[in-house]
Amino acid sequence: MKRRSPVFLARRSYRLRRIRDAARLLPVAGGFLFLLPVLWAPAASESRDTAPDGIYLFGVWLLLIGAAALLSRPLVKDSEDAPASAEERG
C-alpha cells in the first residue's frame, strides 16, 4: 500500500481539479434547465401547465442547491490546503 501513496496524491489533486470543473459547469447546466420551459411552453399554449411548470422549476432549483452544497465542501478545503496561486494553472 505504501508504494501507492504518490499515486493516491495525484488522484486526489486530479479529483479536486475535476470538482472545480464541476463547480464551473454547474451554472451552465442550471441555465440550460431553467431555460427549458421556453422550448415547450409556447407550443403547448392551450394546456394549463402552470402548476407542473412551477413544480419542475422548484425541483431543478432544489437540485442545483444540493449540488452546490455538495461541491462547496471540498472546494473550501482545497482553498485552505493550498494557496490559491497554484490552482489557476492546474
Binding site: 463547480a23 431553467f34 431555460l35 420551459p37 394549463r48 412551477g54 422548484f58 462547496s72
Partner: protein, 899 residues
C-alpha cells in the same frame, strides 16, 4: 387592529434593531464578535436582495404574469452556484485591493480614474433613487392597509407624512451605525447583524403567511395545485424573450447593485463564507418564493375583485381575521424595506463622498495647506450624502405619487445598474479592457437607459413629450424611445435592456481595442485579472526618497486617526527592521500606505494624495516585464531572488544602523570621558585650592566658613553627578528595588508639574490637561514615574523654543496599558537626532544650556523598562513629543519575573 398598536409595534421593532446594532458594535469594538462574522450572518445579510419589492411585489407580479416572477431569483441562483467563476474572483479582488464600493472597484481597475468613479456613482444614484422611493411607498401602502381596515374609525393617515417619518428614522439609523468609523476596511458589523436579524424576520413572516394560506385557507398542496389550474394565473403565457432576458438581468443585478456589492464584497470578512453562501443564499431565495404563487392564487380567489394584488400578503390574513399574522407580515415587509434602504444609502454615500466630495475638496483647497482632521470632513460628507440620498428617494416618491406597479420600478433600476456589467466583467477577465472603453461603454449604456426606459417610465407626456414617443425626437422616426433603430414590437423593458447592453458592450469592446492603456492602468489590469497569481503586494514603482515619512505620517493621521496611523507606521517600520515610528519611504511602504488609505477614502483619492507627497508613480522596467506574460516563469525565479535580496538589504540596513549607532556612541563616549574628566576636575580643583588655603590657617572665621561652603557645594555637585551614574548603573543591572503601590495619575502629574516648575521658572507655560481622563489609579512605583515625568516636563521647559510655549499632557487608557503623551509646541527634535536622544551622555545643544551631564533621558528609559513600559519619541505632533507607556497594574518588576 388599532392603528396605534401598529405604530407602537413598529417603534418597538426599530428600537430592538437599534439595540442589536448597538450591542454588536460594542462587542466588535472589544474584539469579542468573532461568531457574529459567521457564514450564516453573511448569507442572511445577502438577503437585502429581497426588498419590499420581493416581499409584497412578487405576489402581485405572480398575479399579473404567472411564473415569470421566478426569473428575478433564478438569475442570482445561477450566479451564486457558479461562484467559482465570478464571485470568488470579485471577493478576492475586493479584499486584496481594499475596495470600498463598486465605483471604487471600477475606478481602481481602470487606472484609479476618478472620472469613471464619478460616472458609476451617477448611474448608481439614478438607479437607486426610484428603488428607495419604492421602499418608502411600500411601507406607506402597508400602513394604509391597516388604517383603512381599522374598525376604530381611523382615517387613512397622510401618506406623505408617513413616508417622511420613515425616511427620517432610516436616516438616523444609517447615520448612527453606518458612519461610526472610516477604517476597518469599511465594515459595519452592527448594521450587518441588524440586517441579518431583519432577514430572519421577513423570511419567517412570508413563510408563516404561506403556511397559513396553504394549510388553513386551502386544504393542502394538492388543493393548491387544483386551485392553480382553475385560477386565471394559469392563462399566463411564457414569453421566451422576457424569460431569458430577466434571468440574465437579475443575474447581472445581483453583482452590480451597489447594495449587493456592499454586503457581498465590502462587508465580507472571510472568503470562505462565500462557499456557504453559494448554496445557502439560493436556498433562502427559494424559501422566499415558494409560497408566492399559492398566496397569489388564493388571494385572487378570496379577495374582492379590484383588490391590489401587491398587498395580498397583508390583506389576505387581515380578511381572514388573523390580526397577529398580518402584523407579522407587516413587520416582514417593513424589514425588507428598511434593510434595503439602510445598506443602499451606506453604499451610495460612500461612493458620493469618496468620488465626488473628496476629489472636489482636494482640488479646491489651497495647495499644501492641509489643516484639520480630514476624517471629520469625510464622515460629515458621508452623513450629508446619506441624508441626501434618502431625501432624493423621498422627493421621487412624493413627485411620482407612488402609483405604478411595484415590479416595474424594480426592473427599471435593474437595467440601470446592469450597465456596469461589461466594464466589471471585462475588468476582471480581460487585460485588454481600457479606461476609454469603460467610459464609452458606461456612458452610452447609461444614455440609452435614461432615454429608452427611465424617462418614459414617468409616462407619456411627463418627462418626454408625446410626439417624441410617436414620431421620435425632431421627427427622427428611428429614434423613438420604444422602437430604437426601427425595431418595433419588442417588450419595452426587453427593448431597453437589449439595446443598452448591446451598445454598451460594443462601445466598451471597440473603445478598449482602439485605445492604449496608461501605465497605472496596465499594472492594475494585471493585478485584477491575475489576482490569484499575484499574491504578493505589487509595489507600484513610487519614486523612492521623494516622500518625507514625517509628512506622510501627518497626512495619514488626518485620515486614519492618530492611534491607527501611528500603529500602522510602527508596524511598517518594524517590518523594515527599524525601531520607532518612521519607516523608510520605500515603494513597498508607499504601496501599503496607499491601500490602507484607500480603504478609507477610495483608491483614486488615496492615489492622488500620495502622488502629491511622493511624486508621480513611475512604472519601472521590472513592472513592464512582469506584464509580459511570456516572462512569467523567469520572473517567478527572479522574484524569489529579489525577496532574498530584500531580506539581505534589510539585514544590511540593520547592520548599517547598528554600526552607525556604535560609531556615534564611541564618539560620544570619548566626548563624555573628556567631559566627565572636566566635570570632575573643575570641582576638584576648587576643592583642592580652597582646602589648601584653609590649611594655611590664619584667616577670619567668616572667610573660612565661606570657603568651607564653596567646598561643600562643589562636593554636592560631584555627588549628584556620581549619583546619576550610580542610578543608571543600578537601573541597567535591574537590581533596583521598586516601591509598588496604588497612585492616582492626576496627582502624580500635578506633583511632577510642581517639581518641574523650578526649571527655568522665568518661563510661563500654557499647560493643557484633561483632568477627567487622568483619573486613573495605577499600581506602579509613583516616585520613579514622577522622576520620568519631571524629567520630560523640565526638558520641555528647557528646550521648547516657541514664543508662546505650550505643554500638552494627553492621557489615554488602552486596555491594560496607560499612555501618557508629553507634547510641546517647539520645533521638536530633528529626525537624525531622534534615535540618539535616549542614549547616555547624549546632548543636542551645547552643554551650558543643558546644565546636566546628558543622563536624564537615558535614566528615564531605564526606569520605564523597570516599570514594564517604555518611553519613546513621537514624531509628527507639531513639536517635541514623548510617549510614556506603562502597565495599569505592575505585579512584579520585570527582572524578578524573569528570575
Amino acid at each position: 387592529m388599532p392603528f396605534n398598536l401598529l405604530v407602537l409595534a413598529c417603534v418597538t421593532y426599530v428600537a430592538f434593531l437599534f439595540l442589536v446594532a448597538f450591542v454588536v458594535e460594542r462587542k466588535a469594538a472589544r474584539g469579542a464578535a468573532r461568531w457574529l462574522r459567521s457564514p450564516v450572518v453573511y448569507t442572511l445579510s445577502l438577503s437585502i436582495y429581497c426588498t419590499a419589492w420581493t416581499f409584497y411585489g412578487a405576489v402581485g407580479y405572480a398575479a399579473r404574469s404567472g411564473l415569470e416572477f421566478l426569473t428575478i431569483y433564478l438569475g442570482p441562483t445561477l450566479v451564486f452556484i457558479g461562484w467559482w467563476w465570478i464571485l470568488r474572483k470579485l471577493v478576492h479582488i475586493g479584499r486584496q485591493q481594499r475596495v470600498t464600493s463598486i465605483a471604487d472597484m471600477i475606478s481602481s481597475r481602470y487606472g484609479k480614474s476618478n472620472l469613471l468613479g464619478v460616472i458609476v456613482t451617477v448611474i448608481c444614484v439614478f438607479a437607486a433613487t426610484p428603488y428607495i422611493a419604492l421602499q418608502l411607498q411600500s411601507v406607506t401602502l402597508s400602513f394604509g392597509v391597516f388604517a383603512a381596515a381599522g374598525t376604530y374609525g381611523w382615517a387613512m393617515p397622510d401618506t406623505n407624512s408617513t413616508a417622511l417619518w420613515v425616511a427620517a428614522g432610516l436616516t438616523l439609523f444609517t447615520i448612527l451605525f453606518g458612519t461610526r468609523n472610516l477604517d476597518a476596511n469599511e465594515q459595519h458589523t452592527g448594521v450587518v447583524t441588524a440586517i441579518a436579524v431583519e432577514a430572519v424576520v421577513k423570511l419567517l413572516a412570508l413563510l408563516a403567511v404561506g403556511i397559513f394560506v396553504v394549510w388553513f385557507v386551502a386544504s393542502g398542496p394538492a388543493d393548491i395545485v387544483a386551485r392553480i389550474h382553475a385560477s386565471s394565473i394559469s392563462d399566463w403565457e411564457l414569453v421566451p424573450s422576457r424569460w431569458a432576458g430577466f434571468t440574465l438581468l437579475s443575474g447581472a443585478a445581483v453583482i452590480t447593485l451597489p447594495r449587493m456589492f456592499q454586503v457581498l464584497v465590502v462587508e465580507n470578512s472571510d472568503e470562505r463564507h462565500l462557499a456557504t453562501a453559494s448554496w445557502a443564499f439560493p436556498l433562502y431565495l427559494l424559501a422566499m418564493s415558494l409560497f408566492v404563487v399559492p398566496i397569489a392564487v388564493v388571494g385572487l380567489e378570496v379577495m374582492p375583485t379590484g383588490a391590489n394584488p401587491d398587498l395580498f400578503v397583508l390583506t389576505l390574513p387581515l380578511s381572514q381575521g388573523q390580526g397577529a399574522l398580518a402584523m407579522l407580515a407587516f413587520l416582514g415587509g417593513f424589514s425588507s424595506a428598511t434593510s434595503m434602504v439602510i445598506v443602499a444609502s451606506i453604499a451610495l454615500a460612500t461612493m458620493v463622498s469618496n468620488h465626488v466630495v473628496m476629489p472636489l475638496w482636494l482640488s479646491l483647497r489651497p495647495a499644501q495647506s492641509v489643516s484639520g482632521d480630514v476624517r471629520r470632513l469625510v464622515l460629515l460628507s458621508r452623513r450629508l450624502s446619506i441624508a441626501g440620498v434618502l431625501g432624493l428617494g423621498y422627493l421621487y416618491y412624493s413627485l411620482s405619487g407612488g402609483s405604478s406597479a411595484l415590479a416595474a420600478i424594480g426592473l427599471i433600476s435593474f437595467v440601470g445598474v446592469a450597465q456596469m456589467l461589461p466594464a466589471m466583467l471585462g475588468g476582471i477577465f480581460w487585460r485588454g479592457a481600457t479606461r476609454n472603453g469603460a467610459i464609452w461603454g458606461l456612458g452610452i449604456g447609461f444614455a440609452v437607459w435614461v432615454y429608452a426606459l427611465f424617462l418614459p417610465s414617468f409616462g407619456p407626456g411627463a418627462a418626454l413629450p408625446i410626439d417624441v414617443f410617436m414620431q421620435g425626437p425632431f421627427g427622427l422616426d428611428w429614434l423613438r424611445p420604444y422602437a430604437l433603430f426601427g425595431v418595433q414590437g419588442m417588450d419595452p423593458m426587453i427593448h431597453a435592456l437589449f439595446w443598452s447592453l448591446t451598445l454598451n458592450t460594443t462601445a466598451f469592446t471597440l473603445g478598449s481595442l482602439f485605445s492604449f492603456p496608461g501605465p497605472v492602468e496596465r499594472v492594475q489590469g494585471l493585478a485584477f485579472v491575475n489576482v490569484f497569481d499575484t499574491e504578493r503586494a505589487e509595489p507600484q514603482g513610487w519614486v523612492q526618497g521623494r516622500a518625507e515619512p514625517e509628512a506622510l505620517l501627518v497626512m495619514a493621521q488626518r485620515i486614519l486617526g492618530d492611534e491607527a496611523a501611528l500603529a500602522f507606521f510602527e508596524a511598517q517600520a518594524q517590518a523594515q527592521g527599524k525601531a520607532g515610528y518612521l519607516p523608510d519611504p520605500v515603494p513597498e511602504f508607499l504601496d501599503a500606505l496607499e491601500r490602507r488609505l484607500a480603504s478609507s477614502v477610495g483608491a483614486a483619492t488615496a492615489h492622488a494624495m500620495i502622488t502629491e507627497l511622493a511624486g508621480r508613480a513611475r512604472v519601472t522596467v521590472a513592472d513592464l516585464m512582469r506584464m509580459a506574460g511570456e516572462t512569467a516563469q523567469i520572473m517567478e525565479y527572479s522574484s524569489q531572488l529579489e525577496s532574498q535580496r530584500e531580506e539581505l538589504t534589510r539585514t544590511a540596513r540593520q547592520l548599517r544602523d547598528a554600526n552607525e549607532k556604535l560609531t556615534q556612541l564611541s564618539v560620544q563616549k570619548d566626548a563624555f570621558l573628556s567631559q566627565i574628566s572636566h566635570e570632575l576636575r573643575t570641582p576638584m580643583t576648587s576643592i583642592r585650592a580652597f582646602s589648601e588655603i584653609m590649611m594655611e590657617g590664619d584667616m577670619p572665621p567668616e572667610m573660612a566658613a565661606n570657603y568651607a561652603r564653596i567646598i561643600n557645594e562643589e562636593a554636592i555637585r560631584l555627588t549628584r553627578l556620581l549619583d546619576d551614574l550610580l542610578d543608571l548603573g543600578v537601573l541597567e543591572n535591574g537590581t533596583v528595588q521598586l516601591n509598588l503601590k496604588l497612585a492616582n495619575l492626576s496627582e502624580l502629574i500635578e506633583r511632577s508639574l510642581r517639581a518641574a516648575s523650578h526649571t527655568r521658572p522665568e518661563r510661563s507655560f500654557t499647560i493643557q490637561r484633561d483632568l477627567p481622563a487622568e483619573q486613573i489609579f495605577l499600581r506602579t512605583d509613583p516616585d520613579r514615574l514622577c522622576q520620568v515625568l519631571i524629567n520630560l516636563i523640565s526638558n520641555a521647559r528647557k528646550y521648547c523654543d516657541s514664543a508662546q510655549p505650550e505643554l500638552r499632557l494627553v492621557v489615554r487608557q488602552r486596555g491594560a496599558r496607560v499612555i501618557i503623551d508629553v507634547i510641546d509646541n517647539g520645533t521638536g527634535i530633528p529626525r537624525d537626532k531622534q534615535s540618539l536622544i535616549f542614549e547616555k551622555f547624549a546632548r543636542l545643544t551645547d552643554q551650558m544650556r543643558a546644565g546636566g551631564a546628558g543622563l536624564g533621558l537615558a535614566i528615564c528609559r531605564e526606569i520605564m523598562v523597570n516599570l514594564g513600559g517604555s518611553v519613546s519619541y513621537l514624531p509628527g505632533q507639531g513639536g517635541a513629543a514623548f510617549r510614556v507607556t506603562l502597565p495599569l497594574r505592575l505585579e512584579k518588576s520585570p527582572h524578578e519575573r524573569a528570575a
